[in-house]
Symmetry: C2
Subunit: 790 residues, 2 copies
């Protein structure tokens, strides 16, 4: 847990992305933050009347050795969820008629419908391909095992299985590690960050989607302890980001539609819808999808937006159900749920009683404990990986190793298990392995291992009470726990939902079996499937720590609301217990990437901090009419790398200090420079086309870096009039505003830059995302993260 | 639809509430708005550079004869959902340790648990009392009818029934009309307004709760076409507002707990939780409750808050289930849902197919149409009531009339119906009326009418396909539609959910029967219960126009998620179709009360308006150190009745204009005056206790009016230092800010006053709720509502 020197990060290829202009680092006033802040403090020392002794003592505390998670990376850009209301924008809005707005609204619905449809299609594609390939693989291995069970030499079967798995996983790992590292993992942390307002490079690109889809197919077919649900959420988000822009930069196609949506605000809304559609397709849970989007992403709840998200979710489930019904030869039967199917819980078998509530709560606590253990182990593993396994070939090798080990362990467990069960007449197992069992019987350990994880979950929920014996369940839980923990974080695209559910279902079922054993004559205890469900919820809740959305997802996936109440209880208990030890898995990974993530509220004990303390200062300001040379120099200054500049107006010939009159972004300046919108040129060439909003939209979101724009020496002497392009009414706060108040404004409006002014409306500083994300509540009260270029 | 002169409004007893200080009207700059705005415009005429010709033409348009719904009442005060961060508050927050915040957080959870528990108890109480009383009543009437069926003279039974109903309803109407008019109706519009930030006088008082609970029992037992679900939501909100304050002003008890929560921000959060708990208890839908609160109320989505709301919902359902399970002698069986029980929809009978989707959509459209018709009729009726039925005794008489008519119509329908059905062996009807049917048969029209509405809904959902013949269903729909429409808006406390569901279930079942008749051999059409459910959803959606929360509520109430998708489709169709004609029922009633309700976003075509146009100006400002006399005069000025005052600082002896340095509320000034916090007194009496936050909390929320505070002539010459008490960092916007931007800031942060400043930080105006609510999108583009003291 010491300081990490080199790391494999979400934005690892800084060199490459720097060239495309997306990695261009961060925020105004970011460089040498501690130093410049010190200057800022000195310069405003006359106003410094509220520094308490408490604050001083905290600042004087010796710094600990910086851990990796105590750093805040400066590499991540912010998204701008506040509309840039400059003159161009306002003119466009004012020109637009009521019908125009209606059409826009309708196209938003159309886009959401498309998002849902495409996401559903992708989910369908993944599901069918996985089913076919996995079926084929299991068929081959099964035949092989059966052959060698008779003639002896089962080690050959083991080798076949392990090699097959490794080979498939290798393909998945190679495309991820070499082509698109951001496609690794479930993608949920990345989408969380995106919705929070952090720009994760390449996260919503077409290439990422392709790699993600192929990668997840390989991981699941390759027999890893992974699920395909997390990646679906990421896929939905990419689809949304693509469809809503009406063009693909990767494919170099611009359909000239939806141009109005080419800005962060609109795009974010669609990405929310995409993520919801992904959840909806993955779990057959449209409402759960909406709640997921809101719980993980949104800050401002808007009714119309929520309905659109809901619509996308609905279409997504609908599309998936429809195509799957065709695939399963039940065309038109739309009642089946999403990718994961928990099977039907019939109402009669699912009754529960008051005296079971304490048991459920106990299971929630177990889930919280096991979840915390899982997260801690995975945290250490991730640290290890960041330190030692950062080269793509090493990552591929690790993935192959895990695949081989998974196969070997599974095989060994199956081999040494003697849990033979009679093969019922309706036998629900798709690949029953007889092995050394008597004829008409099958090995029940094999059912758990020799299957896609989804099927295993279902069989744990629904099989006859005595299908698995306790030893099988215990061993399975143990091995699968460690396998899943090892697997999450590999350079393959894979989700953690299904493995968590599987672990939980296994120990939950075990719990149910034990209960049934100690209470002799209770028919209510007789159904271990119920406890498997509760265990699954507890384990998943303990790992990912969602409550509301997860409850709804579980309820929708089981198709029965009777369990709503116990599932809620269990998830809440799991969260409370788990949070006592360690954060949720996604948050851990976000922290390990040093992302400036903004939580819901400012830390409770931060009222003694004011805007003056947290802001970055001094700030580079531009004049309303500024020399081109100055602008180019400001933008080229690699030691500052500011992204937003307050625009000030100086009364000519007067001594008075400059007043704030607007805010302009780096990206806007770049476009202005590219189109050479100089005052002198406008005068000489009267025919020159006036710059329009369209020019900014065409450049969005991949604005070229300043280096690629040539400005001649003559042009450097020209002037640029920013009045028309700057946001003339940026939000401001006085210096005395407390941190929670600043935080609330910033978070509620999704700001990127917040100007701090004195009582004469002069700029004294700028608050950006990293200034706020820096403060967090640690074990010893308020802590301040360090900023670093990692 | 002409101008309404006298009206019965939610805040009807202005005289009485004026004395308690709650009705003290509105916002800074509210009086003579058009006039003073004109002045403001003249005074800032030099900045007036953006008045477009479009705007002029709109302003120049001749005003229509003012309709009632084109007015915006100035009587409603706003709530302050933005923390008043003055020095006292900050000092308290800074003093508080991390453990202190943890304890606060825990007490928030405790309060939410209590809210859920008490709401569940109340729901349970209502349910049991209604069941017992209604059972008793139906028993009496049934015996009477049976007696007179044999001997003739059924008109005596009719009279008995009608008189019984009228008498019960009279009790309910009297307590509502004479004691607490705000308890009339479902309470949902009022809670919507409260959560939106409008202070509706007396809406969350204990007296309101008592009247509401007794009133709803009387209405339901009195056989009106009403439900008990809406009132549950209101009851939950009152419980929340009471419990969270740790005291009852009505009972004059202060438990000295939860003092921290005595401000609008915290109280609002708890009221959200209460409303959610109410929904949860009413429908057995905890998730639906959370969504209802969010969809109708919240603007800023906070994860922790959502979880607490969820917790309250959960506890509420749990409590209700537990106590009802005792009542039903199935102690500990918690699987039964809330007040309304749709009964079990078993999965086998509920499958649906692709080709049914168009039918569902068609049903949604029918629901939308019928809903719009319902709303239009009710709108006219409400206008009529506002004009002519505003005296309490008239209201009571109308309620009795409706009760008598309902009984008579029901009786007539039953009498002339010849829809006899065989009494099955398991007969599910609780009060089967034989009337003129053969022995062993019962009258099926009587099942629909001679029952509490909840039971009728259930029987329409679940009875055997041929239970009701089409004529019965058609007649029932027709009569019940008009009865329900007439009933909603009476001076009784009653909800519209159940009647809507019942109407919808009836025509939905009719639809199903007709389908089954025209398609000879389709077993899938055979179950009219499915169509009854869809019809119920469509009708309810068409009337109240909720989508997301209603979907979840319906799904949770049916206990089966299979219908999620069709219900969503139906609700969305109903909303789209209905919105084409008229708004939702709740919105109509809110509008008819002229409440300054803020919608989610500013009207789309309002970008040409800026803060300068919408703000109220000139504004009465106070100096940082102000003469007591000035303050008293300002507060006493009944022609202005401001509620918030910008505090400015004037450099003594300088010519420079005053700069904004804070914002103080009327309520704060009142407390300061009451405690005589004068500079001179502080100097002379050194022992004087320093005013603390506690003093403000003790006075919250019923601050005395200025008239009740005696200030002597000497004291008028004293000075008051406001620095410590004003909010030193109010949010401000420049004058050029566009209306949508102002709106977004105002709505997202739940502001009450937003100061408009010029570029020198001088106050030029104040934006309040009514300034923003004034603009709305009508049929002819942007319309401006008139402000009035109605």
């Amino acid at each position: 847990m010491a300081n990490i020197t080199k790391k494999v990060s979400w934005s690892s290829r800084a060199d490459e992305s720097g060239a495309t202009g997306e990695g261009t680092p961060l925020l105004n006033g970011s460089e040498q933050p501690r130093h410049s802040r010190q200057i800022g403090r000195l310069s405003t020392v006359d106003l410094e009347e509220e520094i308490t002794s408490e604050e001083d003592s905290l600042r004087g505390r010796p710094k600990e050795i910086p851990h990796n998670e105590k750093l805040l990376s400066l590499k991540f850009e912010s998204l701008d969820y506040d509309n840039i209301e400059n003159q161009l924008f306002l003119e466009e809005e004012r020109r637009m008629s009521y019908m125009g707005f209606r059409c826009l609204e309708i196209s938003r619905w159309v886009v959401c419908g498309l998002i849902g449809f495409l996401t559903g299609l992708i989910a369908c594609f993944i599901d069918i391909v996985v089913e076919e390939l996995a079926g084929f693989k299991y068929q081959v291995v099964k035949e092989n095992i059966e052959k060698f069970t008779e003639v002896g030499g089962l080690s050959i079967s083991l080798i076949l299985w392990a090699v097959l798995n490794s080979a498939i996983v290798m393909v998945g790992a190679i495309i991820v590690a070499f082509f698109e590292p951001i496609a690794a993992g479930s993608g949920i942390p990345q989408i969380k960050c995106y919705l929070n307002g952090v720009k994760i490079p390449r996260v919503v690109r077409l290439k990422t989607l392709v790699v993600k889809v192929c990668g997840v197919i390989c991981s699941v077919v390759g027999g890893l302890a992974v699920g395909k649900e997390g990646p679906m959420i990421h896929s939905g988000a990419v689809v949304a980001a693509g469809v809503s822009q009406g063009r693909s930069t990767s494919l170099k196609r611009d359909f000239k539609i939806f141009e109005y949506f080419r800005r962060d605000t609109e795009k974010r809304d669609f990405v929310s819808a995409g993520a919801a559609a992904g959840v909806s397709a993955a779990f057959g849970a449209p409402v759960g999808g909406v709640l997921f989007s809101l719980e993980e992403g949104a800050s401002f709840w808007n009714q119309m937006l929520t309905w659109r998200i809901f619509f996308a979710s609905m279409i997504s489930t609908f599309t998936l159900n429809f195509f799957l019904s065709i695939y399963h030869n039940k065309t038109g039967d739309l009642s089946s749920p999403g990718l994961i199917n928990f099977g039907r819980f019939e109402s009669d078998s699912v009754a529960y009683n008051l005296y079971e509530i304490p048991l459920f709560i106990a299971m929630g606590a177990i889930g919280g404990l096991l979840g915390a253990l899982f997260n801690v182990l995975n945290y250490w593993l991730t640290i290890f990986r960041i330190r030692y396994v950062h080269r793509p070939c090493l990552q591929v090798m690790e993935a192959m190793l895990v695949a081989a080990v998974t196969a070997t362990v599974s095989f060994t467990m199956i081999y040494f298990s003697n849990d033979c069960q009679p093969l019922g007449p309706e036998h629900t197992e798709e690949y029953p392995l007889q092995l050394f069992c008597a004829d008409g019987e099958y090995n029940s350990m094999a059912t758990a291992f020799f299957n896609t994880p989804e099927r295993s979950v279902r069989s744990l929920f629904h099989n006859q009470p005595d299908t698995y014996n306790p030893l099988t369940l215990g061993l399975f839980t143990l091995t699968y726990f460690f396998l899943a923990c090892w697997t999450y974080g590999l350079a393959v695209s894979a989700g953690v939902f299904i493995p968590s559910l599987l672990i939980g279902a296994a120990w939950g079922r075990l719990f149910g079996r034990l209960l049934a054993a100690i209470t002799s004559s209770g028919s209510i205890w007789a159904d271990p499937g119920k406890y498997a469900l509760i265990g699954a919820a507890a384990q998943l809740g303990g790992i990912v720590r969602m409550t509301l959305s997860l409850t709804v997802i579980m309820v929708e996936a089981t198709g029965n609301v009777t369990y709503g109440l116990p599932i809620m209880l269990v998830l809440m208990t799991a969260k409370i217990v788990g949070d006592y030890f360690v954060e949720g898995l996604y948050d851990i990974h976000i922290k390990l990437q040093s992302v400036p993530f903004l939580h819901w509220e400012a830390p409770a004990t931060s009222h003694w901090l004011t805007a003056r303390e947290v802001m970055s200062s001094p700030v580079t300001c531009l004049n309303r009419i500024e020399k081109v040379g100055t602008i180019v120099d400001t933008l080229s200054n690699t030691s500052t790398n500011h992204n937003g500049f307050p625009v000030v107006v100086q009364v000519t010939g007067s001594d008075e200090p400059a007043k704030l009159c607007g805010l302009i972004l780096r990206s806007q300046l770049i476009v202005l420079l590219k189109h050479k919108v100089f005052v002198e040129l406008a005068r000489s060439r009267l025919t020159q086309r006036k710059l329009q909003l369209k020019d900014f939209r065409d450049a969005y979101p991949r604005f070229p870096p300043i280096q690629s724009i040539h400005v001649s020496q003559d042009e450097r002497e020209c002037m640029m009039d920013l009045s028309e392009f700057m946001n003339a009414t940026p939000y401001t706060v006085p210096q005395e505003t407390s941190l929670p108040r600043v935080f609330k404004l910033f978070r509620a409006l999704g700001l990127r830059h917040l100007v701090v002014v004195d009582d004469e409306n002069r700029v004294v500083g700028l608050v950006t995302r990293k200034d706020l994300a820096r403060y967090h509540l640690g074990k010893h009260g308020l802590e301040e993260l360090q900023l670093a270029q990692t």
